[in-house]
């Protein structure tokens, strides 16, 4: 499909619905049933909203994590999610309960920062990984450790292939590994090293997000091209690979070299990638790009500082999570109070 046709059919448009949250958030995802929107935060919580009506309704959060909750994932066929925090805890929750409590949790699932969790397509297994360079596989039902094996680098991202046959990891150095789950061995590596750079003395970048399209023929990985240290400047970038032959199909580089990280990239069922990036306040894009075409068919900076995108099961609504936290040196007080950051979730529609 050419870009003009795509744009006429799939142009994300803002609605009046904007959900405000007083702290910063990492990810906001619609539940598979479409009734809930869940978001994991810097404040050790998972926030919930009922989005079934014309206006969102804030629900009781999931409480019990110790620190940042950078990742969450829904467990198919159940009303459960798995989440992980930066102190090594993994927890599974019944997210539809009035006051969710953990079905199970493991405070020492990892040593330190868990950066990614993924759920197998059949909902039976949960994979996790992070700073301790261990890949671990858990029973989704009861949290039993099924398998573990070392990973050569810090794990930044994980996803299962839709067939369930592969677990895919992305690391700090821009290496994507296709793991045979049964043997815990690497079948092959895909090269996303443009998303990493040793800039002077600082290791920068990494594969920040991985996702397959619905039939598993395409893999998108998000990050920053030629990432730099200090101000952490670079081009938001999504690489799309052909999963069968491992070839890079499209390097989706956006904006300028100070537009920050592409933190999220997901496939729309129609085959295009939706992605968002975040950098200093006012920076960053939302864009839609089909790998077959050289240019994106949609790009916008009107809602900058995007951290995640989620497509509602109705195929029409999109939840765009953005960060609202000014940068600046020195003391900034409002009525005598030191100010932190906050978040907004914009509901867009095709």
């Amino acid at each position: 499909m050419d870009n003009t046709t795509l744009l006429s059919e799939f142009q994300p448009k803002p609605t009046k619905q904007v959900i405000e949250y007083e702290r910063q958030l990492f990810q906001a995802r619609f539940s598979p049933c479409g009734k809930f929107l869940l978001a994991s935060g810097y404040d050790a919580t998972i926030q919930r909203w009922d989005v079934s009506g014309s206006e969102s309704k804030r629900l009781n959060p999931c409480l019990g994590h110790h620190a940042w909750v950078p990742c969450l994932a829904f467990i198919p066929t159940t009303e459960r999610i798995v989440s992980a925090d930066s102190w090594g805890q993994i927890a599974v929750w019944r997210y539809a309960d009035e006051t969710p409590s953990p079905v199970w949790k493991n405070d020492t699932a990892h040593d330190g920062w868990v950066r990614a969790v993924a759920v197998s397509p059949d909902g039976q297994r949960i994979a996790s990984g992070g700073n301790d360079r261990m890949l671990r596989m858990w029973s989704a039902a009861d949290g039993k450790l099924l398998k573990e094996w070392p990973h050569p680098e810090k794990i930044f991202s994980l996803c299962f292939h839709p067939s369930g046959s592969s677990l895919v990891s992305g690391d700090l150095k821009g290496v994507i590994r296709d793991w045979d789950i049964d043997t815990a061995t690497v079948r092959r590596e895909l090269d996303a090293r443009v998303l990493y750079q040793l800039d002077k003395i600082q290791e920068c970048g990494g594969v920040r997000h991985l996702s397959f399209n619905h039939d598993g023929k395409r893999l998108a990985c998000a990050g920053q091209k030629t990432p730099g240290g200090g101000f952490s400047t670079g081009f938001p970038c999504v690489l799309v690979f052909d999963w069968d032959d491992g070839q890079l199909l499209r390097e989706m580089q956006m904006g300028k070299n100070d537009d920050g990280f592409a933190y999220d990239a997901i496939f729309h069922p129609a085959g295009f990638v939706m992605a968002t990036s975040c950098a200093f306040p006012g920076k960053g894009f939302v864009w839609c790009w089909t790998p077959q075409n050289e240019k994106p068919f949609f790009e916008s900076t009107s809602i900058p500082n995007g951290r995640s995108l989620s497509l509602h099961p109705d195929g029409r609504r999109i939840a765009l999570l953005v960060s609202k936290s000014a940068n600046g040196n020195g003391r900034v007080l409002v009525q005598g109070v030191y100010q932190g950051g906050s978040a907004q979730i914009h509901i867009l529609e095709f």
Binding site: A67, Q202, G260, F280, A326, G328, N329, G341
Partner: protein, 408 residues
């Protein structure tokens, strides 16, 4: 461990009261300043605030001193905490690099219309070289080296820093193999005659400094072993790390062992406005490992009682995490660590509030720290002052005093 200082070498007596000069001549204290340029986050290092709004993702871990915790990124340093003192109530004036670097290095004295020396030059002036005869002020830094006179301020160029670019000797320092020592001495004799003739009637700080640098070079030429990296053991290289800061801190250890009075080690690119937490993981590990090894080594060599070790930057980093997951510049409430000569062991002094945003008890500026460090080195600042061509100048800020809780 080192003998009496050679007070005459830098004309110490001409600047100080004679009785004080005699006292200082016996001083064998040395200093190592580790400067993390750009600003290390206090929240990811010395003053963690786990599970608070601005605390970030990392855990606080216990240290070798019961009750004192540091960020998990300092896992090696935590084991050396019983040697360290951390001041958590640092509150300084500048949130820009350009002003902050100079002010922190100069100790922020009152403005008297002169450019004050950096700490290394001040110590070179006040204490002179040790009995080793080695240059009093060596600066180990990335990139280029050479003689950096600008640190000396009004003291004059010869109190500047001899910079070892990437730890390498200055260009052409080592004697060309085609020249015998005897021939070299003849060359130097001729040079000295030319210098003396040129200086007659026009002796200034600059001609003086020019001659002085040659003398320094000659002393260094006799210690070319200082620069022989192959003589470090594999175990040392492993313990300090093969990255830039690790190599430079290992060289700093050797430089202190040879008797250099003041050693400064600079590391750059700590200004983590974006992606601060991944940056901190990458950067702080490069500090933590060699710093812990160095403290352990100085202790085992019984040098720590004589060597004052200081770790600082131009400021800390904002509690607030910006949209780029970074932390910006924050002079309001941050931490400086120190150890060794005259400094109490295993203590934390000062406190920030629960959020880490501001100092909760008495804030201390760099002027207090300069008084503290001069006192730790055995320099009584209340009894001495610089004489800048007749202008009396206190060595540190008039309105500040030492922080007694940090001192033995």
């Amino acid at each position: 461990m080192l003998g009496a200082a050679a007070a005459g070498g830098l004309g110490l007596g001409t600047f100080l009261q004679p009785c004080v000069a005699d006292e200082l001549a016996k001083n064998d204290k040395q200093v190592l300043l580790i400067w993390l340029d750009g600003g290390m986050s206090q929240l990811e290092s010395w003053d963690p605030k786990p599970n608070t709004e601005f605390g970030g993702p990392f855990r606080a871990i216990p240290t070798s001193v019961p009750g004192i915790h540091v960020c998990e990124l300092l896992k090696h340093t935590a084991k050396q905490m019983h040697h360290l003192a951390v001041l958590r109530s640092v509150c300084t004036q500048d949130n820009s690099h350009s002003a902050g670097v100079a002010r922190m290095n100069r100790g922020d004295p009152k403005n008297r219309g002169v450019e004050y020396p950096y700490l290394g030059s001040a110590v070179a002036k006040l204490l002179g070289p040790t009995s080793s005869g080695m240059p009093p002020y060596i600066w180990i830094k990335p990139n280029s080296g050479g003689f950096k006179a600008s640190d000396a301020g009004f003291l004059g160029a010869k109190y500047g820093a001899l910079a070892l670019g990437d730890g390498k000797p200055p260009d052409n320092l080592l004697l060309n193999k085609s020249i015998s020592p005897e021939e070299d001495e003849l060359r130097n004799e001729l040079r000295r005659k030319f210098n003396d003739r040129y200086a007659v009637g026009r002796r200034t700080q600059w001609t003086d400094a020019n001659s002085y640098v040659y003398e320094l070079a000659q002393k260094l030429m006799k210690r070319d072993d200082l620069f022989d990296e192959s003589s470090f053991t594999d175990k040392d290289r492993q313990r300090y790390g093969t990255h830039e800061l690790g190599r430079h801190l290992l060289l700093a250890r050797r430089t202190l062992e040879t008797g250099v009075r003041f050693v400064k080690v600079n590391s750059y690119h700590w200004d983590s406005h974006g992606d601060n937490f991944n940056a901190s993981e990458s950067l702080i590990s490069q500090f933590d490992q060699p710093f812990a090894a160095l403290i352990e080594d100085l202790h085992q060599r019984t040098m720590l009682d004589n060597v004052l070790v200081i770790v600082m930057s131009e400021f800390g980093r904002t509690p607030k995490i910006n949209s780029h997951v970074g932390r910006d510049h924050w002079p309001e409430a941050w931490s400086i660590a120190m150890a060794g000569a005259g400094i109490r062991k295993g203590v934390v002094v000062g406190k920030t509030n629960d959020q880490g945003t501001f100092v909760e008890d008495k804030p201390y500026d760099i002027g207090h720290l300069f008084h503290t460090w001069f006192k730790a080195m055995g320099v009584p600042p209340d009894k001495m002052e610089y004489d800048n061509q007749g202008q009396p100048l206190p060595v540190a800020h008039d309105d500040c005093g030492p922080i007694d809780e940090l001192l033995v």
